[in-house]
Symmetry: C2
Subunit: 422 residues, 2 copies
């Protein structure tokens, strides 16, 4: 069987072809009957003489051989006429309908039946956009001399924060799932200067929220020989622009924003002051921005700078990880930054410490022993350049881009506090 | 500081530039002194007046400002003269030398000090080649209409084989690290028709061999609407050709082979008979090929077909997973295949069952309950097309390509029975 895809039918008008796909809909009107067949490139309208075939169960696999006819009234401008329909793999009755513009099933039902719910064209489109975004991320970084790496997901100590890790039984030894490739990507700056990784990270989040997943896809970047965090922010801007451009190229309807040439930057102290002035409240000592502050800052950036993106730099040291490089100008603050996308934190990054002694001092200042960090700290004994990096949560990016209320809507098979299947 | 990379120095002859990198070697000869600086693009030779600076510890981070001079005797045709050297980040003494053509340290020592050993140019090159290979894999499949996906690495039941899984404590519930994305990629054929994933897989291998890792990178592919496994093999051929072409483009010295237009194919029964005839032994009932058989077949393919690659198809059902599609022509055999690369199994793949009832029968025939497979089996109730796929082990591919004796040599931070750090 020579198969013709839906998207290439317009090039075959007048010819007899065979399409293969799923029964998206079998629609019986008074004088005419339509079969809509879905394949990976789109929908094909097949015109049937009334009652030529038994009603076909939705989502069954079929092949249809017929003549391609131009019809401006058909969704893609062509349709198949004089068809021979062959039912290849009949489907059982569905728990919800897939041919309507939006899926009516509740999110838990969709997630329980993910193999079906994901077939809905609108849901599919999100993941195709995600694949395009990751492709744009990689090609941008490849062009900037970065090397893609793969690092261990099973680690010997719960180093990043000590909390919210999943324990693994590693040949009888205690181990943990990696919360991030942070330490590995830093070590690899000493090797390749510029590295990135696209891979799963694991957080044993005890909160059941619309924003948290137990496993998500992290787009991790780290680069050496920087002056400070501003060099990192410049690479982040390019990576995001590459991601959005790649999505826009393949799915223009999903992208209604762009990354400005210069993303506006505000210092944490100024961001907090502005938001507090606008929203009321006066906690000049706050160490982090509240979600309400971030939302207001997102609106401010759009209003004042026409930008959906806003950098907040210089976060207080108390709320950043111990490896964050302090600000050389403002004691108590760091060269750490967040990127807000439409008023929600999308990316966290910063310059890191790069000297062995600074690490020892930073751990001592937090009352932490250097012992669990031994193999990490060794990295800084042998000539590490000033460096920094960032991590983009792919699902969070997709949720903001598509306006999904829950990050689970943009995850193929989410894992959370209550969900371990499918 | 405007930094110039080693690779672009030839375009700056006569100009004063600044390079930054690591002290690859500080070499004092009788009348002249060389400093070799390594950055991500290569080595720069700096000519020092004898004793202008203190001996610089190897792997220290330096910046050097100097005049670019053409010198055909210099490794890259240029060198820096009249330099000002600035020691930025001094390195402690190294456990082994990195400037010699090969690393003299034992493999365990290299792995213990991976952050240093990986800096060796020859070791770096392998991973740059690996990144190129994965890039070639993806771009080939993107061009064939595949969608890249990310699937869960924590699963509720140890479905693939039941053995060799790592247990995870999932919020107090028993769970396991995924041994492969097999079930997810099959489910996603029902959504996208063609999917691939590049991600970690986990095997609690109780054997400490040169071929096995507890975590490796699997390049997984699955596609629907196939006639049989030969369609899968055709995609595999293209993917491999894309991988080798991408490596050859960036690292020509690493690639001394090519993928033929038609990779030779032998049936398992014929492969076994030929190998047994040549090597002696007559176990006509064997269910798998021994490593010696595979080696001989690799030599045979090279001798008879001029190919480093050989497909063996039609493996006996007893040695393939339950989801393997039986051969419609030879009872007891399957539409499963292996690809041998230079006499070693590199890829396993095949056509899968696609009908719900066939799955129930296959599990019953093995005396297995369908219960642990419930959410997997549900996928086949709703119209699944004939499909198949394969998985390439990235590290195994790199090991065969570079002739590495141990797969750990081509893994950044390997995990095995005895190794959980760094």
């Amino acid at each position: 069987m020579q198969r013709t895809l839906a998207s290439s039918l317009p090039a075959h008008v007048g010819q007899t072809v065979t399409v293969a796909g799923w029964v998206h809909r079998h629609r019986r009107l008074k004088s005419v009957e339509f079969l809509i067949v879905r394949d990976r490139t789109g929908l094909t309208q097949v015109v049937l003489s009334p009652s030529t075939v038994e009603p076909l169960p939705a989502e069954s696999v079929v092949t249809v051989t017929g003549r391609v006819a131009a019809n401006p009234a058909a969704p893609s401008g062509v349709e198949l006429t004089e068809p021979t329909v062959r039912l290849r793999e009949p489907a059982e009755p569905l728990p919800f309908e897939l041919h309507r513009p939006t899926l009516a099933a509740t999110l838990p039902t969709q997630l329980d039946q993910a193999h079906l719910a994901l077939r809905h064209p609108a849901r599919q489109a999100v993941f195709r956009a995600g694949a395009a975004a990751v492709c744009g991320f990689r090609s941008t970084l490849d062009g900037l001399g970065f090397v893609e790496v793969q690092t261990p997901k099973i680690v010997g100590s719960a180093t990043e924060s000590g909390a919210n890790v999943f324990p693994v039984d590693y040949f009888g030894q205690p181990a943990y799932l990696a919360q991030s490739p942070q330490f590995y990507k830093q070590a690899l700056v000493g090797v390749f200067e510029r590295v990135y990784e696209v891979g799963p990270v694991f957080r044993a989040e005890p909160h059941d929220t619309a924003r948290h997943l137990a496993q998500y896809t992290s787009l991790d970047v780290e680069l050496g020989f920087i002056e400070d965090h501003r060099d990192v922010m410049a690479v982040l801007r390019q990576a995001l622009a590459g991601m959005l451009a790649a999505v826009a190229e393949r799915h223009p309807s999903l992208v209604d924003t762009k990354v400005p040439e210069e993303i506006p930057v505000v210092h944490f102290v100024d961001a907090l002051a502005m938001a507090e002035k606008a929203l009321g409240g006066d906690d000049g000592e706050a160490l982090d921005l509240a979600p309400a502050h971030e939302r207001w800052l997102g609106e401010w950036a759009l209003r004042e700078h026409g930008s959906d993106f806003l950098f907040v730099e210089g976060y207080p040291a108390a709320k950043r990880p111990f490896y964050t490089h302090p600000s050389p100008r403002r004691p108590g603050f760091t060269n750490g930054f967040d990127l807000l996308f439409r008023g929600v934190e999308l990316v966290t990054g910063g310059q890191r410490l790069h000297r062995y002694d600074d690490y020892l001092a930073a751990l001592a200042a937090r009352g932490e022993s250097p012992e669990p960090y031994r193999s990490y700290l060794d990295v800084f004994r042998h000539g590490m350049p000033p460096h920094g990096g960032f991590a983009i949560g792919l699902e969070r990016f997709l949720a903001r881009l598509t306006g999904a209320a829950n990050v689970r809507e943009v995850t193929l098979f989410p894992r959370d506090l209550n969900r371990l299947t499918p």
